[in-house]
């Protein structure tokens, strides 16, 4: 008779040397893990709670402007530098890592500065346009201090040096400016769209649509096809131009006017519009009849929007004093950021590394937020990172659980925003009920409900 008794060999289960980690062993038999699902749910709940506990999105406020910050632009090939321009005619280049001013140009324009952009053509060049009917090009390398810092109490002698490299005068107040990707060409928006060569004092082309007398509020060059230009205007239009032919190629009339637009950095034909009707829309230019997605969440007009460099997320700032971060293709429940002192958000920007979000608001502050509210800013070691990823996976897996979903979804919203939200919903409900009643009392099949998506575009012209 052969007899064998279970024997664990210590060499397999004890560390070989002093200080080594103890070897672990696994048995995947589900009966070895009682309450595995219940315990995992508890871990997911803890993960959701920890995520909300660590959600401290506000990083810093960059001061310096006296009036509302309407335009911001991140410098190409730089992680830290961001230019911002305000209504009092002042331009500041911030270093968001060190949170100081790199360049400060007082009285860059008379009156408000409405647009600012960096020139990809020539390094350190900054273009600005304003309501004083001029476009100015600044060389920030010359304006920069030796140590890269501008003290707030710089003497008047310093400002005398702050001369623009070039000045272009137009006939109307400018609303927006954008630079061509690799040519010394830039475009401005006023009551007409003008394309300028940096070497010439007059515009090389004025593009207007024959039947339109609108003022264009914003324009952007397409990143993947530099000759294509898109603009939105006061006539509720969204127009696509080609600067090679100097014509408006397509013109779309929307139900409400859009305040800002942004091209997706990863998908060539996707455009994001920030609309006056509290929504954001992504359009695929190949199908302009309907938006690909409606993003509902703001309770007032959306003033600005910007894609993350990854193209999977975007940020928007609204008249309702909140900043919201959306996932592409997910039309509801955005991340919402707000503070007590932040007023109407006029400009928003993603940082180049997609980790931070900047917002410029009415009261003259530029604020830095984390793009993910519960991100840890300090150095994260490997085990910590693994734990974070595990927690994220758990939350994702259990998000349909009532309790966990509630914890991870709920946000504290300022009371005025909440009240407006309720009011808005009452109004929308009333409108829907009215529409349903009207349909009920008309002949059957006479009127059919229109999809929300199909109400956005009124007309397409080309």
């Amino acid at each position: 008779m052969k007899i064998k008794v279970l024997q664990h060999s210590p060499t397999d289960h004890l560390p070989a040397r002093r200080g080594d980690p103890t070897p672990t062993s696994r048995n995947l038999d589900p009966d070895m893990h009682p309450f595995a699902r219940a315990r995992e749910r508890m871990r997911a709940l803890n993960a959701a709670k920890m995520d909300r506990m660590f959600a401290k999105p506000f990083v810093a406020a960059l001061e310096g402007h006296i009036d509302g910050v309407e335009a911001m632009a991140r410098r190409p090939n730089s992680l830290a530098e961001v230019a911002s321009a305000s209504w009092d005619g002042e331009i500041i280049v911030h270093d968001i890592a060190r949170r100081n001013h790199v360049v400060k140009i007082d009285n860059a324009h008379k009156g408000k500065i409405s647009g600012i952009c960096w020139s990809p053509y020539e390094e350190n060049r900054l273009l600005s346009c304003g309501s004083d009917m001029s476009v100015k090009i600044w060389d920030t390398a010359n304006l920069r201090d030796g140590d890269g810092d501008v003290s707030m109490e710089a003497g008047p002698s310093k400002f005398q040096k702050q001369k623009p490299v070039a000045v272009f005068n137009g006939k109307f107040a400018f609303n927006s400016i954008d630079h061509h990707r690799h040519d010394p060409i830039f475009a401005t928006a006023s009551s007409l769209l003008q394309v300028w060569d940096e070497t010439k004092t007059t515009p090389i082309s004025n593009i207007t649509h024959p039947t339109s007398h609108e003022s264009i509020s914003s324009l952007r060059f397409a990143p993947s096809e530099p000759s294509v230009l898109a603009s939105v205007g006061s006539d509720r239009t969204f127009i696509l131009y080609d600067i090679r032919t100097s014509t408006a190629e397509r013109r779309t009339i929307l139900s409400f006017r859009a305040n800002a637009l942004s091209w997706s950095p990863t998908f060539p034909t996707t455009v994001l519009l920030a609309s006056e009707d509290h929504n954001l829309y992504t359009f695929d230019l190949r199908q302009l009849k309907t938006p690909t997605q409606i993003y509902k969440g703001h309770v007032s007009a959306v003033m600005s929007c910007d894609w993350s460099p990854t193209g999977t997320e975007f940020v928007s700032g609204g008249w309702d004093r909140t900043v919201r971060i959306w996932k592409e293709g997910v039309g509801k429940q955005p991340e919402i950021y707000h503070t007590k002192r932040m007023q109407r958000v006029l400009s928003t920007l993603y940082s180049s590394d997609a980790r931070y979000v900047l917002s410029g608001s009415d009261e003259g502050n530029v604020r830095i937020w984390k793009a993910r509210a519960s991100d840890k800013l300090a150095v994260v070691n490997t085990r910590e990172k693994a734990a974070m990823e595990y927690r994220d996976a758990l939350r994702e897996r259990w998000k349909f659980d009532d309790e966990i979903g509630k914890v991870s979804r709920s946000r504290r919203i300022p009371k005025p925003v909440h009240k407006t939200h309720l009011l808005k919903h009452t109004m929308l409900d009333a409108r829907r009920v009215k529409e349903e009643r009207r349909r009920k009392h008309t002949r059957a099949g006479e009127s059919k409900p229109t999809a929300e998506r199909k109400k956005v575009v009124i007309e397409e012209q080309s």
Binding site: K4, R26, N27
Partner: protein, 642 residues
């Protein structure tokens, strides 16, 4: 512009007739097509000879596969859709678990220690003839470290292992308590409490343990320092600790089951069993349900959420001296063994409590009268081996025979012959108590009047432990980390239900949301979409007076002869009634405001109606003309009135 579109088309073509995100579904479709018709020649050639582990296959395909397992079960013959869905889901879940377990066993068997066994050479060899000396001689001294005899005073002794099987705690009836690491042979603490001690249990790990003493439960730490006196546990006799809920449960002579949360110290609940002194207590580790055996032969199952037992069962004719739950892989809490004062051992299937699967009389059992020592006691090992301690010996039986009725047995009788014996060992001193298998070892410890005996039972222990659950070799840091993680993952006691024991390894699916009106009811419209009347009704503002008034209908009813005629009359009268001017006035003014004029008109109408009804009655001769009416002063002038 065209070049822009061409670039976009290269990444993701625009989908035709689609409103949403272009190309999203087209990609999915393409992928699905690939799955159905693999174009790769290599994959095709390999496919016939290989397979993905079943646990990695998607669940629905594994369920629809042509495997001969229970996954093929169809429940089309069940009419009740709810039951059918439940059965389909639970069968697919169990087949998934089954495949998971097979894969796990494939993975774990390949490495680490292999389980112990006894191999017979011929058909005439009997394993029960093996004595412990034979086993020790055969396996060698190193493997036989588990074979010990502890000679101690103050017995009978009870013992308990930690969940990782490394530490052993013993308690003698007269107050001798000791906790030690039996593998390393080091003593943690030794106490002489000098009062009656009835039971011992470790808490979450070996650093804390609880002792059921004469009046209360006391908690000690690793070094034997008394930490707490739990005064709410009165005269406790048995203790049990639920490790995932951090609950210490005790039962005692008062018949109360007391749950105490050891992480917060709060008394969770104290349940009165109303069945007198409780003799035995054990837990089902898969569901955290407690099994209590009482003096009148009742077995009850308890959760902290119910004030009455979840299951109540007359298990024996005498008191239930011992209960054990089989937590091994084949059973997962399904089989329960009980032993009674009537000298029987019974194995029950928890899915059908009506009749025990196997029961047998124990030869030298029953004697239960000896002070401090009970009658028969039972315990299950991790592999489902059943140890029965009775009188002067311990017998061990192996799983498939303990769970099945013997061949050629009379199906009507509950009591049959005992299953074939695996091992037996005589104990030197009576009474003998408390058989305990050591987890992850082939060791069984039995207490008796003069100490404890540890014997070797080859094949009883699970060779593969999981370090995240219980690790006999864990170090100090790992133990600390597991303690913290255990606290973070602590389950709330509301989660303890009996149903979980029926579906081991998985929680019961959440119940589908039903409307308050019950099933089959049409879901209500949202408030905003209701009609105005419905909305007023929902908010309780609707004025329902004057809704059901239809006096003419009542009159018609009275005259009608059969049901069909009544129906016709009803409709007709309704039409006629509508045109009355007063009623029209009322209908138009059916507002939600209580208006004095409407109220007055309504009262007037009611009066008129009453008058008419009366007239009809008088005409028919049902009532006298004057009956019920107050006499007026003018009545005296009526003719014929005295």
């Amino acid at each position: 512009m065209d070049s822009l579109f061409a670039k976009a088309d290269a990444i993701r073509p625009v989908a035709k007739g689609q409103h949403g995100r272009p190309g999203k579904h087209s990609i999915k479709k393409a992928k699905a097509k690939e799955d159905t018709t693999p174009s790769d020649a290599t994959a095709l050639s390999v496919r016939a000879h290989t397979s993905i582990p079943r646990s990695l296959q998607p669940q629905e395909t594994s369920a629809s596969d042509s495997t001969p397992s229970s996954s093929k079960q169809k429940f089309n013959h069940i009419k009740n859709p709810k039951l059918r869905t439940h059965l389909t889901q639970s069968s697919s879940r169990s087949s998934h678990i089954h495949s998971l377990r097979e894969d796990a066993s494939l993975l774990t068997d390949a490495l680490g220690a292999s389980s112990g066994q006894v191999e017979c050479d011929g058909p005439l060899e009997r394993t029960w003839r093996l004595s412990q000396e034979d086993i020790v001689k055969e396996v060698g001294a190193e493997a036989a470290r588990g074979r010990r005899e502890w000679v101690l005073d103050g017995g009978p002794y009870r013992s308990r292992y930690t969940r990782n099987g490394r530490h052993l705690g013993i308690v003698g009836r007269n107050g001798h308590v000791a906790s030690f690491d039996w593998m390393a042979g080091t003593m943690h603490s030794e106490l002489q409490l000098k009062e009656t001690c009835r039971d011992f249990t470790y808490l979450h790990d070996h650093t804390h343990f609880a002792v059921a003493q004469k009046k209360h439960v006391f908690i000690y730490d690793q070094n034997g320092v008394e930490l707490h006196r739990l005064a709410s546990h009165i005269e406790p006799s048995r203790l049990e600790f639920l490790p995932y809920h951090w609950l210490l449960a005790s039962v005692g002579n008062t018949g109360h089951l007391v749950y105490q949360d050891t992480s917060t110290g709060a008394l969770l609940t104290s349940l009165s069993t109303r069945l007198g002194p409780t003799l035995s207590l054990t837990q089902n580790p898969h569901s955290a349900v407690l099994y209590l055996g009482h003096t009148n032969g009742t077995l009850t199952l308890w959760t902290p959420n119910l004030s009455t037992p979840a299951v109540r069962l007359q298990a024996h004719l005498g008191g239930v001296t011992s209960v054990a739950v089989d937590a091994s892989s084949g059973s997962a809490g399904r089989y329960v063994a009980t032993a009674g004062m009537d000298g029987f051992v019974k194995v029950w299937d928890c899915r059908n409590w009506g009749k025990c699967v196997r029961g047998w009389a124990v030869r030298s059992g029953g004697g239960g009268g000896t002070k401090g020592g009970g009658g028969i006691e039972v315990d299950f090992s991790q592999k489902g081996f059943l140890a029965v301690v009775s009188g002067g010996s311990v017998n061990v039986y192996t799983p498939p025979t303990t769970r099945s009725p013997p061949p050629n047995s009379d199906p009507s009788s509950q009591i049959t012959v005992s299953p074939p014996l695996y091992l037996t060992h005589p104990l030197p001193h009576r009474p003998s108590t408390s058989p305990r298998f050591s987890p992850f070892h082939d060791v069984l410890t039995v207490g008796h009047a003069a100490g404890l005996s540890s014997i070797l039972v080859p094949g009883a222990g699970n060779p593969h432990f999981d370090s995240t659950e219980a690790d006999p070799f864990e170090g100090r840091k790992a133990r600390r980390e597991r303690e913290v993680r255990g606290l973070l993952d602590k389950l709330s006691p509301e989660m303890i239900t009996l149903d979980a024991s029926l579906t081991p390894g998985a929680l019961a699916p959440p119940p589908k949301q039903t409307l308050p009106g019950g099933e089959g009811k049409v879901p209500e419209l949202p408030y905003a979409r209701m009609t105005r009347i419905d909305r007023l009704k929902a908010s309780g503002k609707y004025d329902e007076t004057g809704e059901n008034e239809d006096p003419d209908v009542e009159m018609g009813d009275a005259e009608g002869t059969d049901g069909t005629k009544q129906e016709k009359l009803k409709e007709k009268h309704k039409m006629r009634g509508k045109s009355k001017s007063t009623k029209r006035y009322l209908r138009k003014h059916r507002k939600n405001v209580i208006d004095p004029t409407t109220v007055a008109i309504r009262a007037k109408l009611e009066k008129q109606r009453e008058e008419r009804r009366r007239e009809v009655d008088v005409k028919r001769g049902i009532v006298n003309e004057d009956a019920g009416r107050k006499k007026s002063a003018l009545d005296r002038f009526k003719r014929g009135v005295k």
